[in-house]
Symmetry: C3
């Protein structure tokens, strides 16, 4: 019998009804991901399961390392099939980790595979999947179409050359998003200067001083806007809310550009200035600002030096968040420059304080992020939001993924959501009114994000519905 049944995660009749009748058919608006725009533009075909599934997947690498697998099978140079086999051997050891669910949900939805992945089933699954990857349906554009992805937003540095689907007639709308983290990098003068050089080139301007630096950033922000960008994003340990005049920020900027690293205190002041600047940029154009708060990154210096960032050596920080966040939001509010905003936290202890802070400024408490992107984490996020704010206004799920195999995460989220709501209906904690509760489900799945973000979506998006490739649990 299949592990991924039609009613996977749906433990009550009410949950099943909500999911199948209200959630499943909604399109996807994946407003934050890390897909490579080039792969979409070029309609990439994947040579094998390694390329589409393991390449760059730091979740899997962490699990493999915890299982004693050598680094050569993670970021190293083992052959693709051997890496896949090492992963397959690890899968049975991931019971209760979200990877176990993701793995089998992905095998099912992309390839119609029901087998549990392990050492024995691995060779056949490798062959079967690879054969299907050679078909159009599993090229990048085919995947997006099949999952009903109306729109997605990539994550781009201001110096990147972002790709937009605008004008291409491509059914999935693809927009860049603006992530200027490197603009804060005054503690690392070498990298900072190189980035300013790239910014000069991208903005086609000369950056002679701090003022022209800000102008160049604004120029890129304008350009992203012209390509349909409506979201920015910042990955920071915590907010910054130190007093800092433009002259002071300029002095710190000049020093860093001259090769002198900013002190932690100067970095905090400079970052405070810049984050206000970015807030104004977004507010002026009606964008939505995303803050990803609290990740503890590059914990292992050895592995950072050996293999770089974003390879699975990150975890949760425990910095205080609230005072600086509150001061930042208040300052923007006083300056009439508070954009729409989404707060994400990676440490679950910040769920409730952040959810309650959002209510002070009518901003969004974002979906469970990273290590929290799993059933318990989602339930904690949904409960905190429900109790401190209005779940019905929630803009819902995003993949945040680097992989085209991650689209079932939306399905996963919808099942978790419907399971919670269904249980509440069965318990008498919600009225047994399916139009009311089901309508909320539909809004959280798609419409709330559509209305909130105001992306310049083209084509008949509302007619677009998912038609999942294989073994789809519902007929649409």
């Amino acid at each position: 019998m299949s592990f991924i049944t039609d009613d996977f995660l749906l433990s009550t009749p009410a949950a099943r009804r909500l999911y199948h009748e209200y959630a499943a058919a909604e399109p996807i608006l994946d407003y934050h991901c890390h897909l490579p725009p080039r792969d979409i533009a070029e309609n990439r075909m994947f040579a094998n399961l390694y390329e589409i599934w393991l390449e760059g997947d730091h979740y899997k690498w962490r699990a493999m390392r915890a299982n004693g697998v050598d680094e050569s099978y993670c970021t190293g140079d083992a052959p693709p099939r051997d890496k896949f086999l090492a992963w397959a051997r690890t899968v049975p050891c991931t019971l209760r980790n979200p990877l176990y669910h993701w793995t089998h949900l992905e095998l099912k939805r992309y390839f119609g595979i029901d087998d549990l992945l392990d050492e024995k089933t691995a060779p056949r699954i490798w062959d079967e999947a690879n054969a299907l990857l050679a078909t159009d349906d599993l090229r990048t554009q085919g995947i997006l179409r099949s999952f009903g992805v109306v729109a997605l937003c990539t994550t781009d540095d201001p110096t990147d050359t972002p790709w937009t689907s605008q004008g291409t007639g491509f059914p999935t709308n693809v927009f860049p998003a603006f992530r200027p983290d490197k603009a804060l990098n005054v503690r690392n003068p070498e990298a900072f200067r190189a980035w300013i050089d790239r910014l000069e080139a991208a903005a086609d301007t000369t950056i002679g001083n701090f003022s022209s630096f800000l102008d160049a950033i604004r120029k890129r922000h304008d350009h992203f806007h012209s390509l349909g960008a409506r979201l920015s994003d910042h990955g920071i340990n915590h907010c910054f809310a130190e007093p800092c005049s433009e002259a002071e920020a300029a002095a710190i900027f000049d020093q860093a550009r001259d090769g002198r690293a900013a002190s932690p205190e100067d970095h905090a002041r400079y970052a405070s200035f810049m984050m206000l600047f970015f807030g104004h940029l977004d507010a002026e154009k009606g964008w939505t600002k995303q803050l990803h708060l609290g990740a503890y990154r590059n914990a292992s210096t050895r592995m950072l030096e050996r293999a770089g960032s974003d390879i699975g050596f990150d975890s949760m920080g425990d910095w205080p968040q609230i005072n600086a966040l509150g001061a930042y939001l208040d300052r923007l509010s006083r300056e009439n420059a508070l954009p729409k905003m989404i707060l994400y936290n990676v440490n679950p202890r910040d769920n409730y304080p952040l959810a309650s802070m959002c209510g002070n400024f009518q901003i969004q408490f974002g979906s469970a992020w990273w290590f929290l992107d799993q059933k318990e984490g989602m339930e904690l996020q949904i409960n905190a939001l429900s109790n401190c704010g209005l779940l019905s206004r929630f803009i819902g799920m995003l993949t945040d993924s680097r992989s085209f195999m991650s689209y079932p995460r939306h399905e996963y989220f919808r099942r978790v959501l419907c399971n919670l709501l269904g249980r509440d209906i069965e318990n008498g904690e919600l009225p047994s009114d399916y139009e009311l509760v089901g309508g909320m489900v539909r809004n959280i799945c798609y419409s709330n994000a559509l209305n909130y973000l105001n992306l310049p979506i083209q084509n008949s998006s509302t007619a677009m519905r998912p038609s999942v490739l294989k073994s789809s649990p519902v007929a649409f």
Copy 2:
């Protein structure tokens, strides 16, 4: 069918038995609320549902704002009925927020209304409820009698003229409680001086120096005691435990009175001195001190300036709590001046550390507060207390409310409590001994608070039992 059934929130037979046979009939001792004493003294009649239900309810305002409702319908000057309609339109959007449960429980218990409140049902509910509000049963004293409120404690500034029911023959005992937060206000000299002036008048004394300031506070504490007060209350971000002599505190006091705001460090030292002083006051008279820890208040400066405090722009702080709290309790203990005490936290991450700290000094871990005053929050509090201390000694629920419509919160708490205990019985985690478990339920509902707080309750309180107005689920 009614949404609020007899067995609302009671998911097992054991839970239903515990609630109906043990919890429901217990009287109420509402030892901490913010009801206006004048409304009780004058037996206020409410002109309409807006007056009794929306006026001053920052919970509802937050939800309305999150739903996009204009401020004129919250703290603004829209007509009462329009405000009610705006609220009614918001109610269906509060699914899973405690407001959804509170709303329908309150409509049911006060007015016998079973309809779900929304735009369509609003006009009829407005009319029906308003008609009933014109009856004696729904004047303030009628409400307190109907809900079996044996006693309640209001929250009063030392400079207020508190009202007590003592000597009135009024069936519900009303006592003031002593909340001297403004005595710490040395960072705001203008407000501080104004408060000292009011204190002089209230205490009928001249405050020439710090020593006479302390005397005046003590005089008010004595006066409150004579009116039956047995509880004090402090709303603070976190405890203070800096060394500070009386001479140092006096110097900071003098400066503030002279118009110079204390530095954060001086404020912390001054507050440390004063909190010890307050501890001694309470210990000497056998009072119970309440600490409400960790609220992040007035997050929006714009709204504070526009409409004042306590209007829904507060949330959860994330200050460290333990070191200063522990030092404060230890210092009082060493000085033989540790009063009975109740700790409340608003950030759920502090549940376990606070519950465990209480066990070091045999003080109370208080009911789930504010944003935590909902099913999940109550369960977290009850579980932390159960695991770190003795649930059986818990003094239970209070409304903490500004509204006479909040008395069903006690029922709500009792249902949540019985649901947890009933589930434990069904699971075999508690013995199926109803005298044992039911006796604990009764104690938590009423007797523990009665015995712990030692309020000078008059009249035959034990004969008093609730006789809820409408559609009461149990016959008493």
Copy 3:
């Protein structure tokens, strides 16, 4: 009917199958406890239930104090039987506290007693239990044999004379563990100097300077290793990661030895140096280092002065943990000196950040500790580990106890684990593959710890199986 049934805590058929068929028969490897080695070596017989059950049990004392019991019945000099009666009167007030479960599980497994302990049943239980305590089965070695304890590790100061079972032919392997907390004690020169004197004697060396101090510690570490020790342990508020050269550490050491207490800053630097030193010691010999993080100890100075430490006046701290912990682990990793390691936290808010940090360095996130050693606490730990790492690699439970009556804690943990996994199987969140899930259960119960810790276990440990004394729920 018995409260402790065969299926206690096992709420689904799958849970029951996992527990009875996979978990129950696994031997015990109790790799961290505080049992007195002398009691094992001398095969102590206990005169009565007080001696084996109450003497030294700070959990019970805390509950008794919270119940209003006088200190003379806790740490004081009341007669043993009176102390037991005072405890018996408290037991019915501990409903929902883990003590309620532990108490009845222990009475059942050691004495076959099914009665609920209270004032009425106490006298008979006292007599029955005392009679059984006079038999060989309930002497210390009999207990260890009956519970299938293949090995246990005590907790020993470097200056202790540790006992090992090596060479004794004793069926339970007993090893010391190395806990050098007192080596950090530079803030208390008097105690520090006394400890150095004892260290000189134990290491049979002269400690003339810091270098010979380190040598003496290393000598003791070597000696512990020769006795079979493979674990060290540190009880610290939080990690230390300040820069500190050996010369600087030596200067702080010299000052303390000369009678001048180190400042908090110097203590932090000295502790940083020492913890690196200890890391190297463990890494060189393949030991496993345990960090017990975040306990707030000796909260009541009055009780500390009156009755000493470890008597129930400790609770949870809320120090930041992550930055210093991450820096400590990274530093050891860069120095090729990262030992195997187990992190324990006492504040549940640290579960997720610690579990995720472990994944950066492939170390263990340890079992729920102290106040968290209960059903909810275990579930939180297991869930955090499952979601952030590999539950299948978890080395599982330990008693951490000072009492020979605590061996049913392993059973308790196993029931909680199987209950979670069984629920997941019933919900379809885990595959209904009992060899797969049951195999993981077995590994967590015993084999993972056996393989991870690499203790020099003698005798045919794998043949050893528990044969619980009375009313065992399963036939082995």
